[in-house]
């Protein structure tokens, strides 16, 4: 008998007796005979907790993790520092085992957390309104594109080839399913090619331009100019970014963004093999009532006390059904609680210091690699954050294998996705990387170790 079910055999018998049912099967008699399952599912035998732990340890042991190997891999997911206090809070059953806050009187903890998260996203992005979060950065970008299309009543979405390939794939899927068109812009020296953009905007039918900054190559785009270009063509400007980077980079809201999206893994969420973390989306007032997802607002209760509640729900699926702005119901709530705890601990100073350390360590890594004579920067004179593209003397697959043998997770191999970046290597350096790890990387990569 399952340890998660309190009822004893005797209790079950008595409950059936109370119901006047001869057996469990009686209760399932509403299932037509023809579809009733004859045999139990073919699943492995039950496991006691010690057996379960052993099984999990075997599986987990077949993965090499960032506790043991320094990780120079980024490309959308990063090994950042997470204070222990974060997990201590998100482990609390009151946050973990509660439902969506539809009964506000018994969910003020979740609701106030969302309200505070929304405020922090607004502060970081420089926008007026944030929702309670999205599935991830890729779907947030796709939902933003859909929002832009419905708001401009146009059908074409543009984005750069230097937007994260995962995000581009999701954008393509959503565009196909929503009957939207799209175009991809080439990059010039690692940033959006302005001449190509002007040409593609000339049709006057662009609903939105999606720009990532720092882009997939780590380069910071000239957002102001890009925003002016797309606004000049009557489209909306969607900026995909990273919350941790915004501790040090100018807020996209100040540079003309109409919608700011991105992935929030970098602030307080483990890498988790790519999920769960959360996506964010923020807009200004004109788009408020078209925003997808749930939103928390401040109001008062019957006694005039400050109270938080889900609001603007008329946009949402459970009320608007087929006319909803989106079908999204959930938010990645526990992950935004983690982000809120992280951002509260770090504060503006901590985010700034983290950003500065990343800049310094990235610069040092590139210097050390260049000194080996086997690496050179792919892009020159372009500011970047956390990630840099280096061109190597040898195929990246070979290089990464040597690094792995030496106990280091190397950077992302760019050539399969970007054939023009021959032997292109995207190296991520977070504040977690030490000088000693970086020196070892350079030594092995340079062939000295």
């Amino acid at each position: 008998m399952s340890r998660y079910i309190p009822a004893t055999a005797e209790e079950r018998r008595r409950m059936l007796e109370y119901l006047g049912a001869d057996s469990m099967d009686t209760l399932f008699s509403g299932i037509p005979e023809k579809v009733r399952q004859k045999n139990p599912p073919r699943l492995p035998d039950p496991l006691s907790e010690p057996e379960m732990v052993r099984d999990l340890r075997v599986l987990a042991g077949r993965n090499r993790n960032a506790d043991d190997l320094p990780c120079f891999l980024g490309a959308g997911v990063y090994d950042h520092f997470i204070p222990a206090a974060v997990d201590s809070i998100v482990s609390r059953g009151e946050f973990t085992t509660s439902y969506t806050p539809y009964q506000p009187e018994v969910a003020q903890g979740t609701l106030q957390s969302i309200f505070q998260y929304q405020t922090m996203v607004c502060e970081l992005t420089g926008m007026e309104i944030s929702n309670a979060s999205m599935y991830d950065g890729a779907t947030a970008a796709a939902e933003a594109a859909v929002l832009a299309a419905s708001s401009t009543k146009r059908k074409k979405i543009l984005w750069g080839r230097n937007v994260n390939p995962q995000t581009r794939e999701v954008l393509k899927t959503y565009c196909w399913s929503r009957n939207l068109e799209f175009g991809e812009l080439p990059a010039e020296n690692g940033r959006i090619d302005h001449a190509a953009l002007e040409k593609m905007l000339a049709g006057g039918d662009t609903a939105a331009l999606v720009v990532q900054s720092p882009n997939f190559f780590g380069n910071i785009e000239d957002l102001k100019t890009l925003g002016e270009a797309v606004h000049g063509a009557g489209g909306l400007f969607i900026v995909s970014t990273d919350l941790l980077a915004l501790g040090i980079l100018e807020a996209p809201g100040k540079l003309g963004a109409d919608i700011v999206v991105g992935d929030g893994q970098s602030v307080g969420n483990p890498m988790n093999f790519g999920g769960p973390a959360f996506g964010f989306i923020a807009v200004n007032k004109p788009l408020m009532r078209k925003m997808p997802g749930r939103i928390c607002g401040q109001t008062v209760d019957g006694k005039g006390r400050r109270t938080f509640v889900l609001t603007l729900q008329a946009r949402e699926q459970h009320i608007r059904r087929e006319k909803a702005t989106s079908n999204i119901c959930s938010n990645q709530n526990l992950c935004i609680v983690a982000a809120s705890v992280y951002l509260s601990l770090m504060g503006p100073g901590g985010l700034r210091e983290t950003g500065e350390q990343i800049l310094a360590k990235t610069a040092y890594t590139v210097d050390q690699l260049e000194k080996t004579g086997k690496f050179r920067r792919a892009f020159n004179g372009v500011p970047s954050f956390r990630e840099t593209v280096l061109l190597c003397d040898e195929p990246v697959a070979d290089l990464n294998r040597r690094l792995l043998d030496a106990g280091i997770i190397g950077g992302y191999e760019l050539e399969p996705e970007y054939p023009r970046l021959k032997n292109g290597w995207l190296v991520a350096v977070t504040e977690n990387r030490t000088k000693e790890e970086i020196d070892r990387l350079a030594a092995v990569a340079g062939g000295d170790a």
Binding site: V77, P83, F95, Q112, G302
Partner: protein
């Protein structure tokens, strides 16, 4: 329960810190120079707090939440069962939480194997041929499944199928998902028993219908007795049938959607497979398909090559609908679901559904003298009470009942859903509750009905009173939305 709390922004004091980074061990760089003018001009107004203040703040907030760990949570259609603690420990193992999704395949064999086995187990439980774990939530799973239906019709050159049929008793997500995948949602009526009206479905079925979405057991908690006729009708008309797995907790080991004629389904791992709801997420909406739809699954697909596990990517799967989320989905949630199914095994999975149904019928009978049941005969894992007569007799609405339940120490059932029952109270006790809990809940419901008859609606208007706040003014919230903390610009 504690009282309303100050916000982080009120608690913040300039100069306080809650972190420490190691001293910089490489040469520092000038931010302005390095970023060439992209540097932030004004610091974000994030809280400045010591660690102890942050912990007390969030601990205080947590105490304003009601949770499964605290008590009974009979929220219909949400399957608020107990979330085992071993699942949490599993997801936190560094071998799962500290791995990067783009690591070389040979360094993440355990993660790929876990997902491969989980997909297999879910396919076996549901009678489907293949499962993707990429969708991040139930609605996302619906969207993914409908995209595959769309792609399947397109692949056959059948482009005139623009409609998805949805019962009038369906969750709001169903029509919304149909609409976001470019379909028009068309309603089919329920008959007197709350089942899909077979004749009405036949009348709607033509060559413009792409498919039918169905929850079974349906939102009244009863099994569609004409299920085979329903799926056959759609198939004969050239459509596909989608199974919304919101209510799958009722049927594990008892009936498989794959054997009922469904072509696509999603499961909410955060309902049926015990992963916690987290106050609204993260969830996971695994999607299963029959072999005919397998080529359309989102990429990448995890495959077994001999003793190794690998990935089939988008470029190797030309008919795939594409990617619906980055990487592999909510992997941490998948670890929890895997742990749950392995812990229970076949016997435990069947036992879970049996007890969910036994508990629901037991509680339904206990409450049936107070409120008419919306179904006849046995219910499955949940049931709907009609709060209409009590309202008519006493003026006390189902919302009032819900608020009174909060004061009695319970999370209320789902209210005002499904839309086809007036003043609906939808109760799903789940298998993890003891008989004493159900008895006490029934007593609380009885006391509330007695209070309604004795004291009338006025006695309910100010409820709940035991919570940090009482009923919020939702009108003001929606008319003049305050969606972020307003800083005092003068300070």
């Amino acid at each position: 329960m504690s009282r309303p709390m100050e916000t982080l922004f009120e608690a913040s004091r300039a100069g306080r810190v809650g972190y420490a980074l190691p001293p910089l061990d490489v040469p520092g760089v000038d931010c302005g120079e390095a970023l060439q003018g992209a540097c932030r001009e004004n610091a974000p107004r994030l809280p400045e707090m010591a660690e102890v203040d942050v912990i007390r703040h969030f601990t205080g907030l947590s105490r304003m939440n009601y949770s499964v760990d605290e008590g009974f949570y009979p929220l219909g259609s949400c399957t608020m069962k107990y979330n085992p603690k071993i699942n949490e420990a599993a997801a936190r193992m560094p071998g799962f939480s500290r791995i990067h999704p783009l690591q070389p395949e040979e360094t993440v064999q355990g993660a790929l194997e876990l997902m491969y086995i989980l997909s297999d187990m879910l396919a076996e439980i549901t009678g489907m041929d293949a499962v993707t774990l990429q969708p991040a939530a139930g609605a996302h799973g619906e969207q993914t499944g409908l995209m595959m239906i769309k792609a399947w019709h397109e692949s056959r050159g059948d482009t005139k199928r623009t409609k998805i049929i949805v019962p009038d008793s369906a969750h709001g997500t169903n029509p919304a998902s149909a609409s976001v995948t470019g379909f028009d949602a068309v309603e089919v009526a329920s008959d007197e028993e709350g089942m899909v009206d077979l004749e009405a479905l036949r009348a709607l079925m033509d060559d413009t219908v792409a498919g039918l979405m169905l929850t079974n057991p349906n939102t009244l908690g009863i099994f569609e007795k004409h299920i085979l006729e329903l799926t056959e009708t759609v198939h004969r008309g050239g459509g596909l049938v989608y199974y919304d797995g919101a209510n799958a907790n009722a049927i594990m080991g008892k009936a498989r959607p794959g054997d009922m004629g469904f072509d696509v389904l999603h499961l909410n791992l955060h309902k049926t497979f015990s992963t916690p709801h987290g106050g609204g997420g993260p969830g996971s909406g695994a999607v299963g398909v029959k072999a005919e739809l397998e080529p359309f699954l989102p990429a990448p697909v995890i495959v077994k090559k001999g003793y190794r596990f690998g990935l089939e990517r988008l470029k190797d799967r030309p008919r795939s609908i594409g990617r619906v989320r980055s990487f592999f989905g909510n992997f941490g949630v998948l670890v929890r679901a895997y742990t749950y199914i392995r812990t229970l095994g076949a016997a435990g999975i069947v036992e879970a559904s049996e007890m969910a149904v036994l508990n629901a019928n037991y509680l339904a009978k206990k409450l049936s003298s107070l409120y008419p049941l919306a179904h006849k005969g046995w219910c499955m894992h949940e049931f709907v009470l009609n709060g209409g007569p009590l309202k008519h007799e006493t003026g006390v609405s189902s919302l009032d009942v819900a608020k009174a339940l909060i004061d009695a120490g319970y999370h209320p059932p789902t209210v005002y859903f499904p839309l086809i029952v007036p003043e609906a109270l939808m109760v799903e006790p789940t298998e993890t509750e003891s008989r004493e809990t159900l008895d006490r809940f029934a007593e609380a419901m009885e006391a509330i009905a007695a209070k309604a008859r004795k004291e009338g609606p006025e006695a309910f208007h100010d409820l709940p009173v035991t919570t940090p706040v009482s009923r919020p003014d939702e009108t003001t919230a929606a008319r003049n939305p305050i969606l972020r903390w307003q800083f005092d610009e003068n300070s």
